[in-house]
Symmetry: C2
Subunit: 481 residues, 2 copies
């Protein structure tokens, strides 16, 4: 264990974590400050830097043919920009008072302290692994890292032809959030018979259940077996020790492979041990400049932090690559002596299962209720293009507006082509605090191949406006939800 | 000529024009007031009501197989809702002082006066027909009305096999705005060899020329011959009297059919004769409730009015079906005793030529200059999806931001799938008055099939933010455009 020293007037930035947030911060800081002013050391415990974890389902499903396509920048590329990336090196302790981190070589076990002037914590998330018998059996896979993806692909190719009795290979996906539905698509594309076992009432619990039901039906239409309201209690293994089925309280689902998609938690054990402030969801708490609260020279971003939801006014945990990249930019600008802020999120997320597109932004009904907002809700059916234009496909839009004020609170969209990115209209409107009545006048792009003459979002806004007016007529304590 | 009378306490609403604005107004007014309270009489000089003129290019091109698919509501359907639609009846005079209109049966020539309590003027637009020899020759077509579309289709089928020498049938489109490029696509789809003759420097003069150039190249890539900087001086006819070529100062372009797509003007001769206020572009001027300025009981909407551009602060003429529908809703609500306003437009428009998508919103460079705004401009290249995801296609985004304040002024996008409707992000941002720096933090939908981790609009916003900062450093009277 040795203490690095002798850096003269040059500052040292230490970055913990070599993916989106960490390496964006490092790169942005480097753009602003040359190596003579700022030394940058980045520790990454895995084999890869700056990769798209969001792309893993598409690699597993075969849409993306090579793992390396998911890598935006290799360690060598970072080093060419004078960022000292130390791979397979895990930070095991942050000494805040001493301004240093202890890092251990994963292979050799050698450890040493490295001093920092400025520290960026970008330790990401870890997948939730259920605490149940068989959860670690061969054939049970997470899909959080590229290594996870490779291991799953190895299992998929090994599984081919293994099942004696059934002609089909069977996959069970545990969880029906973004990762779950995307992995269901990937496994369908790989020719598996897919069952999704979901604890919730409907898939996509980031939607209200009435919208989740549309996803449910569409997934069944794709040949996916959906099992809702079911908790997996154990993973059953065969004589070879490999997974053979997944069991719930009531049933068993044969499985040649099991994919866990039950979400992630912030990877903040290090930060917690160092006494840094964590929120109720376990993520680091930062200020608007992404500085860890109460610590002038420590920043944090990406999947290990909580962010302010601008609609609810409360911190939220939203592990998404797009936020991680923005955090990294903001941190890098501030570390480099500039000024930038991350004002917060409105909760936008898009996904797809085969050709079904799913989008949401803002608050669900239960979110609004939880933070004390009263609201009106409407749901409309429309089409992606003018009804007479070829390829026009149905789209369902649900909209929540605050009672009385009519302020937009949230939008959920389920449909085919053109459904997902339409949610951006609502994301900007939420950011700007528009009312649904103001939205009815939005000058959105119209031509028959792209939209009905009233865009589906405008149709929803009109109906929501009428609903808010009706609610106002009902008076003080009426039937508003 | 007779004066209708004996209406008792029931009010009479007269609507001039049976398409989008007029019939939306009539329908909305009817929803709010029953026939016992409000009589509604609508005059339409043509054969159709409530149809999608924007759909005509797709009907001509064969994407839409039947004319009637473009009709949202027939005269009979309106009549079933107690709207007294009088077809083939042209209003020839508005007597504002007397509160009556004179209408003439187009076929019989019979004319009579009809009194109104409230009047809606929705007379639409008329295509600009160049004042040159041969402009009215058989084989020269406009595409403003369903009747125009039918006449063009008749010519196209007659033209088949007519040309002796050339194996290809040749079409010349005059004008390269929305109608011009959409008609070029339609005629390519019909198997014609297409030449577009355009007065401007580049096609799509609603874009800046640098963006129009991208459209130019793409159209050539589709096999369309683009002739820019060329004014058509005459239409040459053959021995049969039909069109055989189009001539410019310098050249002749053989043509079996000619389509005029050089734009439209507000159809406001009636309104002008009645002394109603017109703007500099010849459109009626209204207040925010779509009431004709200075006239308590007359409203106007659709392609015959000018609208406020919220970015330039000036009136603009924007004939688009989506605005006409909104105007109709607003007028109908106000006529029916409710309250609604149309705050204005930001200038959003989308279009396509085959798989090339074209979008714009806000101000072009010359618009900004004209209204006294100084600005910074950036152009970026990005992709529609994550670079590694199948089908990711290039997209060019140009962004204008006000100098110093950084307020967004305009966005233009040219690309393939997913380019057009991305402009809605900017349309909402313009409405809300966001700065480009505020836009860098927008929480837009991200997943690899739908967007790179930085959406192209965010990439442009980041670059524009940097440009605004640089401009600020340049100080008072520097090199900003």
């Amino acid at each position: 264990m040795s203490m690095s020293g002798g850096r003269g007037s040059r500052e040292r930035l230490v970055v913990i974590g070599g993916d989106a947030a960490g390496m964006s911060a490092a790169s942005q800081a480097r753009r602003m400050r040359g190596p003579d002013e700022l030394e940058i050391v980045a520790f990454e415990r895995g084999h890869f830097t700056s990769y798209s974890a969001c792309g893993i389902p598409y690699w597993v499903g075969g849409d993306v043919s090579e793992r390396d396509e998911l890598i935006a920048r290799t360690p060598e590329e970072h080093r060419a920009r004078s960022i000292d990336v130390r791979m397979r090196t895990e930070v095991t302790e942050i000494d805040v008072a001493g301004g240093r981190v202890r890092a251990r070589d994963v292979d050799s076990g050698d450890a040493s302290w490295t001093a920092y002037d400025k520290l960026v914590i970008a330790t990401g998330a870890r997948p939730i692994r259920p605490d149940m018998p068989g959860a670690d059996a061969p054939g049970v896979h997470g899909v959080q890292t590229l290594d996870d993806g490779q291991a799953l692909l190895d299992t998929l190719s090994r599984t081919r032809g293994r099942t004696g009795a059934a002609p089909e290979q069977r996959a069970v996906v545990v969880g029906a959030g973004y990762i779950g539905v995307e992995m269901a698509e990937a496994l369908i594309n790989r020719g598996f018979e897919v069952t999704v076992v979901n604890r919730g009432e409907e898939p996509m619990s980031t939607l209200d259940p009435d919208m989740g039901r549309l996803v449910h039906r569409a997934m069944e239409g794709l040949g996916i077996t959906m099992v809702n309201d079911a908790e997996v209690t154990k993973v059953l293994t065969g004589e070879d020790g490999r997974v053979r089925a997944v069991a719930t309280e009531d049933a068993e689902f044969p499985a040649d492979v099991v994919v866990l998609g039950i979400g992630v938690r912030p990877e903040t054990a290090l930060a917690e041990a160092a006494g840094l402030p964590l929120g109720v969801r376990g993520g680091l708490l930062t200020d608007l400049a992404m500085r860890v609260r109460g610590h002038e020279n420590i920043w944090a971003g990406g999947d290990c932090v909580e962010v302010l939801n601008l609609v609810s006014g409360q911190e939220q945990y939203v592990p998404l690559g797009t936020h991680a990249n923005k955090h990294g930019q903001v941190i890098g600008a501030n570390v480099g002596g500039g000024y930038a802020t991350f004002p917060g999120v409105v909760g936008t997320a898009v996904s797809k299962v085969c050709d079904l597109e799913i989008a949401r932004t803002g608050l669900r009904e239960k979110d609004a209720h939880r933070v004390g907002l009263q609201y009106e809700t409407v749901t409309i059916e429309s089409t992606s293009r003018a009804g007479y234009y070829p390829g026009a496909s149905p789209m369902t839009v649900k909209m929540l507006a605050e009672r009385r004020t009519g302020r937009l609170l949230g939008v959920q969209i389920v449909g085919r082509e053109g459904a997902a990115k339409r949610v951006d209209i609502a994301a900007v409107a939420l950011t700007a605090g528009l009312t649904v009545e103001q939205m009815t006048a939005l000058d959105l792009g119209y031509a028959p191949p792209f939209s009905p003459v009233w865009d589906p979002v405008l149709v929803a806004a009109r109906k929501a406006t009428a609903q808010v007016r009706k609610g106002a007529l009902r008076g003080g304590t009426g039937s508003t939800r």
